[in-house]
Symmetry: none
Subunit: 218 residues, 2 copies
DNA sequence: CCTTTCGCACCTTAAGCCAAGCTTAAAGAT
DNA sequence: ATCTTTAAGCTTGGCTTAAGGTGCGAAAGG
């Protein structure tokens, strides 16, 4: 799962980034409106955290532009406490949720997770596909009820595949969603990852579609 | 829908042009940077395909000029494979998407269509023809609701035929659309492919028009 | 006008080759 | 010390080629 944070306060940015990273997300960041807008338009994220007060280009304008461009990525906006009008404007402009500053890290993460689940059409916070169960609150995957110890990458890949179960997922899509920016995909990392994952969750769960990608079989 | 292609390799240009034309687009072409820039500035297009390595005036400069001139037409850039820096530069300069060479015709067309849809704010990735359903998001074809496992070529052919259902599609058209660089050799690849496809999706779905091509019957 | 014949376009099957993907180990990064 | 990436050799599925079969459709003969 890959998230973009657009925030000019470097301290808040740092905190959010580390919190999300250790929650198992691939994180990209932007310090001003222009970069933020640009990244959001051109890269593929599963969710975006957007501050409203930004240099160069303010959050609301960015959001409006994205929506005009047809970008439907769920957006969580950060606003100053008690600013009713901003909240309304934000939701009007197409935001999916909002959090007032100052905030609890936990809350932001929980809401991001809810947004992503909602966007992928998953209602229950715990997702079960065949023998596998994904608990995002615990960042844990279970096979037949038993927890499986995973590395961050393994967990991200599993979570992503479970949320898109049944779909053929290409290697490009995988790299785009479990790695952050600047990753040169001229190697067999994905294959190695898939290999390790198969050993952990069972080889029969992940089907190979030669020349197309992988499918999480039901 | 009108598209401009700026590309110096005449073979690639021809392939792109014919592919887009038969996909229902009006196509203009330019063989070098100056012509390309000029056309893009003075005519109005729904989308532009821009090669980065061009004689006279390179792609990046053209793109920058257009954006300075206030031209917001969605631009898809073509770059050499693995050139991460070029991709970043292109997206920085205001490109909306990019495809690495060598590329699949189908992918370019799909991305162009996505760009245009995005610009106009429409989404509909599922196409149903008779008992067949094409879900491009999942890269899967369904027959009577059941997924059919296909090889890359089979999938491309099916997708192409479904998008042009009812039309007679010649073998030449098929080779030009589902193969990246046109290979001209008199072999029976297409017949073999069609044969395998019929076994998977049902023989009655694909009609033969002797001496003309094939039709996806409704 | 109907029938037969013949050529050509298309169908079918199977074998071989190549590249995509698998696997393992070791080096590199954090 | 753990996790990730690189590298190298190996395996296998999908694509192509080739060879023989089938049937359409046109032209010639009845």
């Amino acid at each position: 799962m890959r998230v973009l944070i657009v925030e000019d306060d470097t301290e808040i940015l740092r905190l959010l980034a580390t919190a999300l990273t250790s929650a198992g997300y691939a994180v990209d960041t932007a310090g001003d409106g222009e970069d933020g807008h640009h990244l959001g338009s051109t890269e593929s994220y599963d969710s975006i955290i957007l501050d409203l007060g930004l240099p160069k280009l303010d959050g609301l304008s960015i959001l409006e532009r994205w929506r005009k461009e047809g970008i439907t990525t769920p957006v969580l906006i950060l606003t100053a406490r008690d600013s009713w009008t901003e909240k309304v404007k934000g939701l009007r402009a197409g935001a999916d949720d909002y959090v007032a500053k100052p905030f609890q890290m936990e809350e932001v993460i929980a809401r991001i997770e809810a947004l992503i689940r909602r966007a992928k059409g998953i209602v229950n916070p715990v997702l079960t596909i065949g023998p596998l169960t994904l608990d995002t609150a615990q960042s844990t995957v279970f096979r037949d009820g038993r927890p499986i110890v995973m590395t961050p990458l393994e967990y991200r890949l599993t979570a992503y595949m479970m949320m898109r179960h049944g779909a053929v997922i290409s290697k490009t899509e995988i790299t785009e969603h479990i790695y952050d920016q600047s990753f040169d995909c001229d190697s067999n990392v994905i294959e190695v990852l898939i290999n390790r994952l198969r050993k952990k969750i069972g080889a029969e769960v992940i089907e190979t579609r030669r020349g197309q990608g992988y499918v999480l079989a039901l």
